[in-house]
Point group: C2
C-alpha cells in the first residue's frame, strides 16, 4: 500500500474529465492536478514546445512526491510521452496507449476512427499505437479543431453549431465500415452524445480518459501501491493562470464542484535551465 | 526621417491583418513582427498573465531598435497597454483607441457593437475608450469566442458553421438600432463579409487594425519619422513556435506570401527576472 498521491497534469482543464473517472474508480486516492492554463492549448503547437511545456508542468507536481504521473492530455501523451518517461523518476501513464488498446479490442475487424486535436492527429501516435497491437487494423484519423472551443464556451450536444461541426467532421464517415470511435482529446467526452448520434448505433465510442483510469488502477494493483486509506481521497488543483475560470468551466468536466484551486507563478514551473530533448 | 523599423507584436498570427494595412499605407517602412505562437491565445487569459506575456514579446523586438511598437493584439491592447507604455522606451500604439475613435465618429447617435475575445470584452477597454470620447454613446459588447478557431481552421464566410456562429452571436442585435460594428480582434476581418451580411447594410463595419495603421501613419508624420527610403519595406517575422504553421495560415491574414519566419527560443524572450506589474 502507498498513500502517496497520483499526479495528473494537462494543458488546461480537460484533464479533469480523466480525474472524474479516477475519482470514481479509486475513491480513496489523493490526487494533485496541474493545469497549464497560462499556455493552453497544446493542440496547435510543435513537438519540442509541447515536450518542454509537458515536462515543466509534470515536474512541478514532483514536489508533491507522487507515486505515479498521469499525462491526462492527449497532445502531451502523443508528442511527449518518451520525454516524460526518460526524465521523470516515477512511472508515467499517458492516455494514448490505453485508448488505442481498448479500440483494438472493440473493433473486431471494422475500422477505428480516432478523433483529436491537430497536433495529436498529425503526430500519428494513435495510429502507431494501434499498429503496434494489430498491424492490419484499419484506422481513420480525423482532426476536430472546433470541438475544444465549442466545449470551453459551454455549448452542449443539442446546440445547432455543435451538431453542424460534428456533421462536418464525421458525416462522411457514416458510409464507411467504422466499428469504433476513439475520443482522443479530454474535451470530447462532453460531446459524446452528439458524436455517437452522428455516427449511429453501430459504432462503439471509446473514451481514452476512462481507459486510462482503468490502466492506472491496474498499474497500482499490480504494484501493490493502492492507497490503504478508508477516507475519501482529496483533490488538490493548481493552475498557471485564471483559477476562477478553471473553477467555473472545470466543474463541468469533473462532474462535481472544484473546491480549491491554487495559482502557480511562472517561477515555480518554468525551468529554462533544463531543456527537454525530444527524440523526434 | 527615420529609417528604423516599426515593431509589431501579437499573441500569434492575427496581427498580420494589421501588418497588411501597414504595408499598404506605408510601403517603404521596414517591419519586424513577433508572434507569441508558443503561448497563443491571450484571449482567454488573465490580465497579469497577458501583461507579462505582452511585455516579454514586445521587449524581444526592442533588440531591433524600432522607432515605434504596435500592440497588434486586441487582448494585449485592452489588458496591457498601460504596462507597455510604462515599461517600453519607445512610443506604443494599441488597436483599441483607434478602433473606438473611428466607431464614435461613424455612429452618429446609433449604438456601437464591439466584437472581441472573452478577455477583451470583459476588460471593458473598448467600452471605456468610447465613453472617454462620448459618455452618452451607447455601446453593446459581444464576445465571439468561436471566431478565432473558425478562422484558424481556414473556414470562410460562406461556410455553414461560420454563418451559424455569426447568427448565434449577432442575430439578436438586428432588431436594435446599431450603427457601427467594431472588429475588436485581428482575426475578425477574415469574417467581415459574414458579419456584415448578418447585421445588414445599415451597419458600418470598423476594422480596428486598419484604423491602427492610419494612427501609425499620423504618428510618424507628426513626428517627422517616416522612412525616407524609396525601396519597398522589408517584413521580418519571428515566432515563438511552429514557423511552418505561421507561414501557412498567416499568409491568409497578410494577403501575400510570408517569405521568412524565424523561430525564437524561450531563452530569448521569457524574462523571469523582470515581472510586469499591471496597474489593475
Amino acid at each position: 500500500m502507498n498513500s502517496a498521491a497520483i499526479a495528473v497534469f494537462d494543458s488546461g482543464l480537460g484533464g479533469l474529465s480523466v480525474v472524474r473517472h479516477l475519482r470514481q474508480l479509486l475513491p480513496h486516492e489523493n490526487i494533485v492536478y496541474f493545469g497549464d492554463t497560462a499556455r493552453v492549448p497544446y493542440g496547435i503547437k510543435s513537438r519540442p514546445t509541447v515536450a518542454q511545456f509537458a515536462l515543466e508542468t509534470a515536474s512541478f507536481l514532483l514536489g508533491y512526491e507522487p507515486k505515479l504521473v498521469v499525462a491526462a492530455c492527449n497532445t502531451a501523451s502523443a508528442l511527449a510521452l518518451d520525454t516524460l518517461e526518460a526524465e521523470l523518476p516515477v512511472p508515467v501513464i499517458g492516455v494514448v496507449a490505453p485508448g488505442a488498446a481498448a479500440a483494438v479490442r472493440a473493433a473486431r475487424g471494422r475500422a477505428i476512427v480516432v478523433l483529436g486535436t491537430e497536433a495529436t492527429i498529425s503526430s500519428g501516435a494513435y495510429q502507431a499505437a494501434v499498429a503496434a497491437l494489430d498491424p492490419d487494423q484499419p484506422v481513420v484519423a480525423q482532426p476536430c479543431p472546433l470541438f475544444v472551443p465549442l466545449v470551453e464556451e459551454g455549448r452542449e450536444c443539442d446546440d445547432p453549431i455543435v451538431k453542424l461541426a460534428v456533421e462536418s467532421y464525421l458525416g462522411a464517415l457514416r458510409g464507411r465500415d467504422i466499428g469504433v470511435a476513439v475520443l482522443g482529446c479530454t474535451h470530447y467526452p462532453l460531446l459524446r452524445d452528439a458524436i455517437a448520434a452522428c455516427l449511429g448505433p453501430g459504432v462503439e465510442v471509446v473514451d481514452s480518459g476512462r481507459e486510462t483510469s482503468l490502466a492506472v488502477r491496474s498499474h497500482l494493483e499490480a504494484a501493490g501501491a493502492l492507497s490503504g486509506s478508508a477516507a475519501p481521497g482529496i483533490l488538490r488543483c493548481f493552475v498557471s493562470d485564471n483559477p476562477a475560470r478553471f473553477q467555473r468551466v472545470g466543474s463541468r468536466f469533473l462532474g462535481e464542484r472544484i473546491e480549491h484551486v491554487e495559482h502557480v507563478e511562472a517561477e515555480r514551473y518554468v525551468n529554462l535551465a533544463r531543456r527537454a530533448t525530444p527524440t523526434a
